[in-house]
Amino acid sequence: MDNQRNVDKFLRLPYRGISLLLALLAMGVLASPVMAQRPLDPLTPREIELAKSVLLGDRRANQYLGGNSRYHFVNIERHEEDKSVAGTAERRADVVLYNYTKDETVSAVVRVGTSPRVDAMQIIRDRSPGLSPEEVEEAKQLALADPGVQMKLTAAGISEIANGSLIITYLFAQASDKADACSTHRCVLLYFNTREVALLSVVVDLSARRVHVE
């Protein structure tokens, strides 16, 4: 009898260990914050790519862009749902696309969950969205390649652009004067600085791909 009790005790120990291990595993898996996407998490790269493809595959967007429009995705971010459905609604994306061929903006709300589709789309003609990092970089490259800008930088003693001596900041440059091309074109105002001083400002018209030194 005593031997049986000892055997029972001996057998119970690993059973308890297995039980504890399974329990800990269950808690660890279920408690992991990364396991399931939460409603306020930013869009994932997959969701961003899906938003682009869904919009471009939409019949209305297709008709609007046609076959040869020059366009650029300016911004894609998580759509914020109304408070009454927050946390339960299918995830959606706010997509902003700039059509360089027509100088117009497409603003859309796109589902990126289980039933991808475009929920809303607007063509906007009198207001432009801000610039994307890619557009700002393109403006910088256009400016740095401009002979007028190069002359000014050389005169200021900037001979080597890549050495970090130049700090370039920017503003969105939509003009209110209708006579100004930048009232309808997509323009960037660039400020060239060194570590010590502001040097010059330059307007880059991304629609016409023109540079104007101020």
């Binding site: 119970r12 279920l30 939460r38 914020e80 408070k83 946390g87 809303a120 207001r127 969105f172």
Partner: protein, 418 residues
């Protein structure tokens, strides 16, 4: 007992029980977070109090706070902010132009302009994201009485946005006592200078007086509009009072003074807002109290928060013409998910589904919805005047504009008291 049944009772049943526990949890377990790391900030301070919130970087508004919950000592966790954000930065220059609206028509937005931060910039702290720094730091005294004292802590998340020559540091400070301090730091370089003598009344000379041609740093304002979706203890049944301060003259006297002389006695008065409207810092020592009408502390007073202006003064923009929305310092609206920006509240600056929403914060009050027991959104305007100094060459020393949101009757005693 057979081995299989022994296995079940020894291993399977306890594991099953734990599994069930994890799925449904005991009633006292807090709600699951609304976001994942690194967007989740969950800090329990040395004092035993706790802040839990989500952050997100959005193109226009920059660093946005979602679902902020505070746990004081001796109280359950309760929501303070459903969402908090910068809703516009209006920068009119003293000569009349330019008049920037930094989140919409003038730049790509605080988020688009957010810079990648370096480790030294965020030290000591943690880069939650290349553009967002979180720091937990000592804030000095929480309180002191004779030889008794308690030191306080705070958690701050911040980002840096380069908008033209200006650099805005967006900060959200959450203190262990429940206070929230949103603020913006203004630094970078002067955006606008002028060499015409005509700028003299509108700026300050920044080059040597001996130089034949003057260079003026042009003066301007930064009017910061914050949007606070304050869900005090939840989204419903919130209300807001204006608390004003004025001279009091007797009779009747106060319990200790006749109150017959100017400056002798002072009273505070409460005014309950009943409909969507706006208010201003027209009188000194004005502040506001937002609270939940249905939840009280142990003393029977409604839990709430004060909105306390700091270093702020009233100023009007072009209220009669292009900027009607610049006439107030606080706007009170009911919740509308499409009302996100204080000006230019229309696509593409807000989602396409929101076309047709009121386009500015003044128009958002036009419906006059009931706000006495409702889901409220408060729009606070901080006004900062910048008159350039020599000290701002070549880089501007940082100055801040902010506001203080602090608990009032959140608990019946000090939020930190064990």
């Amino acid at each position: 007992m057979k081995p299989l049944s022994r296995f079940f009772f020894s291993v399977g049943a306890p594991s099953l029980l734990v599994l069930v526990f994890c799925l449904i949890g005991p009633a006292e377990v807090a709600a699951q977070p609304f976001c994942s790391a690194p967007n989740l900030v969950d800090v329990t301070f040395a004092a035993g109090t706790r802040w839990r919130f989500c952050w997100e970087m959005r193109q226009r508004e920059g660093l946005v706070i979602n679902r902020a919950f505070y746990t004081a000592r001796g109280t359950p966790e309760r929501e303070v902010l459903f969402r908090a954000s910068v809703a516009q930065v209006h920068v009119p220059y003293h000569p009349g132009s330019p008049r920037f609206r930094d989140l919409t028509i003038s730049t790509s937005g605080l988020g688009a302009g957010a810079l990648n931060l370096s480790v030294p910039e965020c030290s000591p702290g943690t880069l939650l994201d290349p553009k967002v720094c979180r720091q937990i730091r000592d804030r000095g005294f929480a309180w002191k009485f004779s030889g008794l004292f308690q030191k306080g802590q705070e958690v701050i998340v911040w980002s840096s946005s380069q908008l033209g020559q200006y650099n805005y540091i967006t900060e959200w400070i959450f203190m262990d006592d429940g206070t929230v301090v949103p603020r913006i730091g203004f630094t970078g370089r002067l955006q606008i200078t002028g060499t015409d003598d005509g700028f003299e009344p509108f700026g300050q000379r920044i080059n040597p007086e001996a130089d034949p041609t003057p260079v003026f740093g042009v003066s301007h304002f930064h009017h910061v509009y914050w949007r606070f979706d304050t869900d005090i203890g939840g989204s419903s049944d919130n209300a807001i009072d204006n608390i004003s301060t004025s001279q009091y003259f007797g009779p009747p006297p106060s319990p200790v003074s006749a109150c017959l002389n100017f400056g002798e006695c002072t009273t505070n008065s409460r005014f309950r807002f009943t409909n969507e409207t706006f208010d201003g810092l027209f009188a000194p020592f004005t502040f506001w109290h937002v609270f939940n009408k249905g939840i009280t502390n142990a003393d029977g007073r409604n839990i709430g928060y004060e909105i306390v202006p700091e270093g702020n003064q009233h100023w009007d923009g072009m209220t009669d013409t292009d900027e009607p929305w610049s006439l107030a310092d606080l706007y009170i609206t009911t919740f509308n998910g499409c009302e996100l920006l204080a000006t230019d509240n229309e696509p593409p600056f807000i989602p396409a589904e929101c076309a047709g929403a009121a386009t500015n914060v003044l128009d958002m009050t036009a419906e006059g919805d009931n706000v006495d027991g409702a889901d409220l959104v408060l729009w606070y305007v901080g006004h900062f005047q910048h008159v350039p100094r020599d000290e701002e060459e070549p880089n501007m020393l940082i100055e801040y504009q902010g506001v203080r949101l602090q608990p009032r009757s959140w608990r019946h005693i000090n939020t930190l008291q064990p």
